[in-house]
Each structure stands twice: as structure tokens, then as C-alpha cells.
Point group: C2
DNA sequence: CGCATGAGGGAAAACGTTTTCCTAAACGCT
DNA sequence: AGCGTTTAGGAAAACGTTTTCCCTCATGCG
């Protein structure tokens, strides 16, 4: 009975004796928030016991003690400060999401889904927008390592020395949508881009588009490269090979601009292709605006296929066919990749679906 | 010279003696990351000195010592672990952004701007999506308090007991776009919604729309209420009073749905109004789709005005006039509200602008 | 010479947790 | 009665910082 009062009888009876409540150093959270010490004092137990109750350690507290501690926690509105835990455990409950471009609704949607899924696992998501810049990405990586982030999710990673190093050092990284630019398969969550590309080709050819084109973003993105590869291979197989000049991009960073400029190029060359595959919706938006300016209409004059298919498309872009990526499933998949240790380095391939909103244009080959 | 070696001569000469490097407890960051102790050991100083150098405390380290410490930091790639600092300082560098709905591009844009501005101040943003639910909001508030967040930014706050309590307890809160539902002005960042409402009214009446309507979201949002009030007052002043039944909403949570359903109601009533003010772009999107289904075109048959004006509108909604909210300025304004102590509880009113994309419909009152 | 002052820097005390030891009963067993 | 074993719970050691005291020189000034 050294130091702390210990009165089995009163405890058995569940009596919160006044003595017990006051003998303790009064430590009623001197600094604002209640701490584990104030809970311990109020419940008449040691802080170790409080900690164990909070963390549900089995066989370490009697039902009564547990109840008393719970009661004290409730009364004080106690919640463990994360810094203390983080320090001790050398790891925080923070998960960093590094996104290439938050202005892209697709990225925003994935961020939202990830946030919800992580929170369900008791994790907290911090959001960083790298703008696809290697230097910023490295800065964020370092900052998040200093936060002892439990994992770092890269939603569209770009090659950078810091990333290479962290990957080598075995940091927990999850690549989403775009594979690691530094080889070596770490956990990856995404869709089968190549297959999606082939489906788009089949769709366009199947609807009679003879004159095809592709407008794509940076090929350093594995997702873009795979989409393009799949599309090209399938088009050729269907006897509708694309000349190299029909596969183009533009020297802009914004996808919207890429679409607009590339479409300008296509139009300058003469008659517009009848089927255009844009490797992102934003590119398609840019292209579409250029077409409108030209007095052309979609799908009347040509078919435009995008990629990502934000839920907003149903409302603002009924003229666009697009490959729908199941954002909502990304969240849980990311959470699993972080929590699950066994299949940690497995790939998660989620199902995509080509959404066809438009009717084929009326046959007007005759005019 | 007790405990730590102290050799002023060698130090003056800037010599990193081998002895100095090894006498120290070898503590080369035994656990992965280098700690302040490893830096201290390498530089041959105490950890206190390292801390002071890192934090730029004046008059506490000679130029030489500073240089040696900097060198060690560089060589080791040291970065202070935030948990340690947070614990000691009872406050983290985390700022929480609670957003009502991340699927809304307007919110996403503000989130992106805030993230950039906060990072420039050395802060880290954690993102939480409350889905406009009071219980979730409270849960997040508690979680962020446990993180000892330096500030909590509420982008579209909803009334909740936890919020009221935190506000009373003097937590650092910044309300963005929507004012505190619990009265009492805490820092607020937003635009002059009332004024924007009047401008929209003037725009519609000025272009000859005689038959007006408003489709609005939840009026618990101060932003929505103010927009509506401004619009209504100005319309009346211009001799174009709105009957109560021309101001409507719908029992849906999604703005898109609200727009769609409200427009259905309007159409069922007979001829559609000639000018409709939607208190958000998403509502306008929903309304527009319903109009399309009905075979009506904008702006040919009526004028639609939205609110927020995401940059994407230029590309996907050229038919929509909308009040542009300067997202990019929100970031710095939020950062100032957090950092700046003097004008901390001041309001920041940012400039909005009504973007008119459409031409007035040709006069066709005759048909 | 005496003495305040200031510069430079170390020791150690927090900060709030978790977790590893320990210890003391109580509870079977033989 | 003796002896493992389980149960309940306390003490104390980390974890990595920052910051408050100190202490020691050197310097300037009367």
C-alpha cells in the first residue's frame, strides 16, 4: 500500500471514497485539457491502469476498475493527446496523401474517399498538393517523415530523389493510380489501364469511327502510358492503325490546356478525326471547348471519350463518354493496403467501366 | 568540464577532433531516424545548443558552433520529430480543415488554396469531410483537439454542441464562407454574400427577365441566407417582387439533386421562369440537366445564374453566369487569420465578381 | 582592483503517453 | 502445507523536443 491508496473493501463495494479522491496529488489537469494523470487521480488508480483501459489491454483490470476509469474519462471528457502516444510509439496515426493536383475533380474524389476510409480506421489524413513538382514532393515527403506518418499515399507520384530514397529505406508507401516511377513494386491501387484503353478503342471502332486520334497527358505517368498502349494495340488489331501524328499532346501543364491546344493542332490539319480518345476528362473538356468554338458539336460531329468520369460528368458533360474509375472503392483499398500486413505488397486492381452517354452520330458519310 | 568534453582551443580553431566525436555516448540514432541527440554528438555540443540553432535563438551560439551544428544536421539529414516538439510546446503545427462537402469543387478549391498558404507558414493541413453532419463534425473537432491542432478552420460549419463548446472555450476557430451558427463573431473569411445577391438581381432584371425564381440550399447556411436576402430585396426594389412560391428548395442533401428536383417543380407549374438564381453552381447544374431533358436551352430560353464559379465552369458550363468567389485569396486570408494575433477576430471580406458568360436571349416575347 | 554585464553553452526538468518490469494476492493443484 | 499460475495493478523508464536555470569566462567601467 505504498504511495497509492489501496482499499480492496471499498473497491469491491464500488464505493468511490472521498479519501481516495483527495489523497492523490490533486493534479486536475493544470494545463487546460485533462490528461491521463487527472483521469487516474479521479478514478483512484495509476496512470498505467488508465492507459490499459483506454487501449483495451486484456486481463489487466477488473471489471470494476474498468468501469470506474471509464466513468472518470467520461466525466472529464478525456481524450489521449496524440503527441504523447506518437512519441512513445515512434509512429503517429497520420497518413499523408500526396496528390498531384487537387484541382482535378478525380483526385479530389479519391482524396475524399481515402479520408473517410482512413478515419474509419482511426487514422487522420493530411493532404498535400505536389502540383506534380518533384521538389515539392520531396519537401512533403520529408515533412511527413518528421510527422512520423504511418504511411504515405502517393496519388500520382512523380520521380524524385527523395522518393527513391524513401522507397529504398522501406518507408510505407502506397502508390495510387500511377505506379512508382522508381520501379520495384510497392503496394499499388488502381485499375487496369491497358485493358481500359483497349475497350475504348473497341468502342470507337465499333461505332464506326474510322479516323481516330489520341490526346494524352504526360507519358511519365504509367497510367497514361498504359491507356495509350492498350488503345493503340487494339486499334491496330481492329485494322484501324493510328499514324504517329494522330497521337499527340501539348506543352502545357494543365490538362485543360493540353486538350485545348492539341485540338487546335488537329483542327488546323484539316477535318477533325471522328473519334478522339482523351486520357483524362480534363483533357476532353479542353478539347470540347475548342470544338465548340469551331462550331462543331459532340457527339453530332465526332465522338469524344474521356477518362476518370467524375460524378459531375452526368450533370455537366452529357456529351462525354468516359471510363469510370470507381473512386469510392479506392478509399477502402488504400486503407487495406496500409493496415493489412500480409498482402501488403500486393496490387489491388479495381474494376473500371466505360460509360457511354452518347448515341452514335447519325450516318452522314454521304454529305 | 563535467560530463561533456569542452575544448575551447580546438573549438576556436574549428577543428572537429576525433576525440570529441567519440568520447560522446555514441548514440548514432539507434532507432532509424537521426535525433537531436545524434546531431549533438556529431557536432560535439549539447542537445540544448542544437535545439537553439535549429530554432534560431539569438545570442546563444557562436558563429562557429552554429556552423558546426548546421554541418552535422546536413550530414545526418536531421529533421526534428514533431511529436517531441508538440509535446513540449503543447501545440502542434497542424491545422484542421473541416469541410462540409469535398465533392463540391468550390470546397476542393478552397482546400487546395488553404493547403498551399498554410504550408508556406510551416503548418500542415489535415482534411476532414463532415458531410454537413453535426455528429461527424463533433467527432472531428474532438479528434483535432486531441491532435492539439493549432487552429481549426470550418469551411461550412454546421451547428453542433461540440462546436458551441469549443467556441466558448476559446479554441482557435476560423469560419470560412459560412458564419458561425452559434453567433459570436470569431474570425471569418468570406465574401459579401448579400451584396452579391443584389448584383445578381440587378443582372437578371437588367437583362429583361421579368419572371424570376430562386433555388436555394439549406438556409441554415448564413451564406445562402444572405445571398437570398440580398437578391430578394433588390428584386423588390426594382419592381420585380418574387412571390413566395418562386423561392424554393428541395428535400435533398446533394445540391445537384436539389437543383434537379426544384426545377421539376417549377416546370410542373407551367412555363419556366425567365431568370433563375441558384445559390450554388451545383444547384445550377442540377437545374440545367432538368431543363435539357425538357428540351429547353440555356441561355436561349432562360438565364441561369449560379454561385461559386469554379474555374472548371469556363470549360464545361459556358451557359452559366455565376458569381466568382476568389478561391485563391481564401488561402492567404485563412493563413493570416491564424497567424495574425492583432486583427485576429476581424472579418476578412474578399471581393467577388459576377461572371457573365452568356448573351441575353434574343427578344422573343412575341411567339 | 572590484564588479556588474553579457555571451556562450551545459544539465535537467518538463510535456503525456505506452510498456516493461515487479509485486502481491488469490487460486488452483498435489 | 507447499507451490506454480493467473489476475490486478503500481513504479518507472523511455520517447524527442524545448526551455529554464545555472555556470563560466571575458569584457567594460568606475
Amino acid at each position: 500500500m505504498r504511495g497509492y491508496p489501496f482499499d480492496p473493501v471499498a473497491r469491491k463495494a464500488g464505493i468511490a471514497t472521498f479519501a481516495r479522491m483527495t489523497i492523490r496529488p490533486a493534479s486536475r489537469h493544470p494545463h487546460g485539457q485533462p490528461s491521463i494523470a487527472s483521469v487516474a487521480a479521479r478514478a483512484g488508480v495509476s496512470i498505467a491502469t488508465v492507459s490499459r483501459v483506454v487501449n483495451g489491454v486484456a486481463n489487466k483490470a477488473s471489471a470494476e476498475t474498468t468501469a470506474r476509469v471509464r466513468q472518470a474519462i467520461l466525466e472529464l471528457g478525456y481524450r489521449p493527446i496524440s503527441a504523447g502516444r506518437d512519441l512513445r510509439q515512434r509512429s503517429s496515426r497520420i497518413v499523408a496523401l500526396l496528390t498531384a493536383n487537387l484541382a482535378n475533380p478525380a483526385m479530389a474524389a479519391i482524396a475524399a474517399a481515402a479520408e473517410a476510409a482512413l478515419r474509419a480506421d482511426g487514422l487522420v489524413m493530411v493532404l498535400c498538393d505536389t502540383h506534380d513538382r518533384p521538389d515539392l514532393q520531396d519537401e512533403y515527403l520529408l515533412a511527413m517523415r518528421a510527422q512520423r506518418a504511418r504511411a504515405i499515399v502517393l496519388l500520382g507520384a512523380v520521380a524524385s530523389p527523395g522518393l527513391a530514397r524513401m522507397q529504398a529505406e522501406g518507408e510505407t508507401l502506397v502508390f495510387v493510380s500511377r505506379r512508382s516511377p522508381h520501379g520495384t513494386a510497392t503496394p499499388f491501387v488502381g485499375i487496369d489501364n491497358r485493358r481500359a484503353g483497349t475497350e475504348v478503342a473497341r468502342h470507337l471502332v465499333g461505332r464506326g469511327c474510322a479516323d481516330l486520334a489520341v490526346v494524352h497527358g504526360a507519358l511519365s505517368s504509367s497510367a497514361t502510358a498504359e491507356r495509350l498502349a492498350g488503345f493503340r494495340a487494339e486499334a491496330r488489331r481492329l485494322g484501324c492503325a493510328l499514324p504517329p501524328r494522330a497521337i499527340l499532346s501539348a506543352a502545357a501543364t494543365e490538362h485543360l490546356e493540353i486538350g485545348y491546344q492539341a485540338m487546335s493542332v488537329l483542327l488546323r490539319r484539316g477535318r477533325a478525326p471522328t473519334g478522339i480518345f482523351c486520357t483524362s476528362d480534363l483533357i476532353a473538356f479542353g478539347a470540347h471547348r475548342r470544338l465548340l468554338e469551331e462550331g462543331l458539336a459532340v457527339p453530332r460531329d465526332l465522338t469524344l471519350v474521356g477518362f476518370d468520369d467524375s460524378p459531375l460528368n452526368d450533370w455537366v458533360a452529357p456529351w462525354l463518354d468516359s471510363v469510370r474509375v470507381p473512386y469510392d472503392s479506392f478509399g477502402p483499398a488504400i486503407a487495406r493496403a496500409i493496415a493489412g500486413s500480409p498482402d501488403a505488397d500486393a496490387e489491388t486492381t479495381l474494376p473500371h467501366r466505360l460509360i457511354v452517354r452518347t448515341q452514335p452520330p447519325p450516318e452522314r458519310r454521304d454529305d
